[in-house]
């Protein structure tokens, strides 16, 4: 079984975590061995590290993208 790491924002409901795990197994068509961690720097959402690929669905990354888009509009620093 492939190993997978799930990093979730604090205060994520356990049902949500189970749903995420099930969805990934369905999407990748195989059973995965999960380890779950809590990471406050994500602000919201989750990160899934599975077999060399990262699935980044975090609020922190989104905010970073918005910041970069604003920089691009104004000028780099």
């Amino acid at each position: 079984m492939k190993k997978a790491l799930l990093k979730a924002a604090p205060k994520t409901a356990p049902e949500t975590i189970e749903k995420i795990k099930a969805r990934f197994s369905q999407y990748l068509n195989e059973e995965l061995e999960w380890s779950v961690e809590e990471d406050a720097s994500l602000i919201g959402g989750f990160l899934a590290y599975i077999d060399g690929t990262v699935y980044d669905c975090t609020v922190a990354t989104k905010l970073e993208e918005i910041k970069q888009a604003l920089y691009d509009a104004v000028g780099r620093n």
Binding site: Y49, G52, T53, V54, Y55, D56, C57, T61, K62, E65, I66, A69, G75, R76, N77
Partner: protein
């Protein structure tokens, strides 16, 4: 009125943020398997590109992907070598190494990644990748405009054109950086419009500080960009420094401007690349350099070109500097770079120690672009100079034996000695085209006589002073037209006569 503006701006921002697409990002990751000085081996990242920037543990450090294998990537750290631990997560950024470019860089000191080193903020609107293709044959035009250095021996006998690569080669402490700096300062003083980039590779911080303060004092920082990769920087930073300098120059070249880039020096650049290759366990060749050490420098120097009129006519002139050991120009790196460049300026320690400064060995130095990169005024006056110096050299040997010479040989010797005195120049002396032409004409017409009892050197400075005080019009005419027609030559002849009279008059006071 202002309320409306405020509301519409915040409404604009709100709308932009609301309409921002929500999608998840999917990218590859790897883990650090081993760290070895500047080189890290990463497990995973099978789809990394060559030269891609890798982010380690969310920005703790950055590395360049250099060795791509199926399950492993060998990467070289750009910074933060103390902070990387085994097991850290590595993410590909999808970008190759790039540097911010633009007019905002002029007058600044920046590192090869575009970060300012002079503690002031920097804003760039454009990014250029550090590695780029050189202009094709169709995009180029022949080199036809001079790049004057303000150094009389170079401008007369080893002229450099805009778009040429001219190597400055010599042992340590022979004045290589001096020549490069004099050229940069001359561009500022003569308002030639050439933008200069000084790329220091593997130099001490103190040396670079001295260079910056020299340029500031001469007022040359207003058209110069300094890009240092210090000797304590990571090898990868020293490796990309010259390419980054080229990328910065290419921005201006494709806008039709002329650029001068000094690479000081490529020997240290080759040593940094050797270090990276050996740590990546690539096979070592001659002098332990990797097999692609020629390609390292050839792809760098091929990016210097003179663009065709259709592309704006801009140019990049490269002055690479290579340091030799004990004058051995047949070592590996010197021979490589000599075969790539369009000529070399060869500096010798013996000449330097015997007082001949700049210590240029005119016999071994060459500019393969030659006369097409000289203003007409200079072309006319410097025609026979190399020949006369060569003849002088041959005859000078006989004077050591105290042999008696016939009058022709004695005349050649006398002329040669005068010329050798004329082409001596102090490090911070900067000559305009007119001043160089006047000095060479004076030597040719025998204006410097030994009847007065002053040395040729003293008479040289007197002549320049005399012209600056009394004949500024002639100097301006030559500087503006860059040519000497018969009218100007007549005026110069009269001026020389006036100078001789003035010199004899004042000489009495001097003694």
């Amino acid at each position: 009125m202002s309320d409306l503006v405020y509301t519409s701006l915040s409404a604009y921002l709100k709308e932009k943020i609301d309409s921002f697409p929500i999608s998840s990002k999917i990218y590859d990751y790897g883990t650090v398997k081993s760290c070895n000085s500047d080189v890290i081996i990463i497990k995973g990242l099978g789809r990394a590109k060559y030269g891609e920037i890798l982010e380690i543990e969310n920005g703790v450090a950055y590395a360049l992907a250099f060795d791509l294998k199926k399950d492993e990537v060998g990467a070289v750290l750009l910074d933060g070598e103390q902070a990387v631990e085994v097991g850290f997560m590595v993410k590909g950024t999808g970008r190759v190494a790039s540097v911010g470019v633009g007019e905002a860089l002029i007058g600044r000191v920046i590192d090869p990644l575009g970060r300012p080193l002079d503690e002031k903020p920097l804003m760039c609107r454009e990014l250029r990748p550090v590695e780029a293709k050189a202009p094709s044959i169709v995009d180029r035009a022949p080199v036809d405009t001079p790049l004057e250095t303000g150094i009389i021996s170079i401008d007369s006998m080893i002229p450099i054109g805009r778009g040429q690569r001219e190597l400055i080669i010599g042992d340590r402490q022979t004045g290589k950086t001096s020549i490069a700096l004099s050229t940069i300062i001359h561009q500022a003083k003569s308002n030639s419009g050439v933008i200069c980039i000084y790329c220091a590779i593997g130099q001490k911080k103190a040396n670079v500080m001295n260079v910056v303060s020299t340029l500031e004092k001469a007022g040359a920082m207003n058209n110069t960009i300094v890009m240092p990769a210090f000797s304590n920087d990571c090898a990868a930073l020293q490796y990309i420094a010259p390419y980054a300098a080229c990328a910065v120059g290419e921005y201006f070249m494709y806008k039709g401007k002329d650029v001068l880039i000094v690479f000081d020096d490529l020997s240290k650049h080759a040593a940094a690349y050797r270090m990276i290759s050996l740590l990546l366990r690539r096979p070592a060749g001659r002098e332990a350099y990797p097999g692609d050490i020629f390609y390292l420098h050839s792809r760098l120097l091929e990016r210097s070109a003179h663009l065709s009129k259709e592309l704006g006519g801009g140019s990049i002139t490269a002055l690479p500097v290579v340091e030799t050991m004990a004058g051995d120009i047949s070592a590996y790196i010197p021979t490589n770079v000599i075969s790539i460049t369009d000529g070399q300026i060869y500096l010798e320690t013996e000449l330097f120690n015997s007082g001949m400064r700049p210590a240029i060995n005119v016999g071994l130095s060459v500019s393969r672009v030659g006369k097409s990169a000289q203003y007409k005024a200079m072309k006319k006056t410097s025609g026979a100079l190399r020949l006369e110096i060569a003849q002088y050299r041959d005859l000078a040997v006989f004077t050591r034996f105290g042999a008696e010479l016939d009058s022709t040989s004695a005349a050649i010797l006398k002329k040669g000695e005068t010329i050798m005195e004329i082409i001596k120049q102090k490090a911070n002396d900067d000559y305009s085209t007119a001043q160089e032409v006047i000095l060479l004409l004076a030597a040719e017409k025998g204006v410097f006589s030994d009847k007065i009892g002053l040395s040729v050197n003293e008479q040289k400075y007197d002549l320049l002073e005399y012209f600056a005080k009394n004949e500024q019009k002639i100097l301006d005419m030559i500087n503006n037209g860059k040519d000497t027609d018969d009218i100007i030559l007549e005026k110069i002849k009269e001026a020389f006569a006036g100078f001789t009279a003035w010199e004899e008059e004042n000489h009495a006071e001097r003694r």
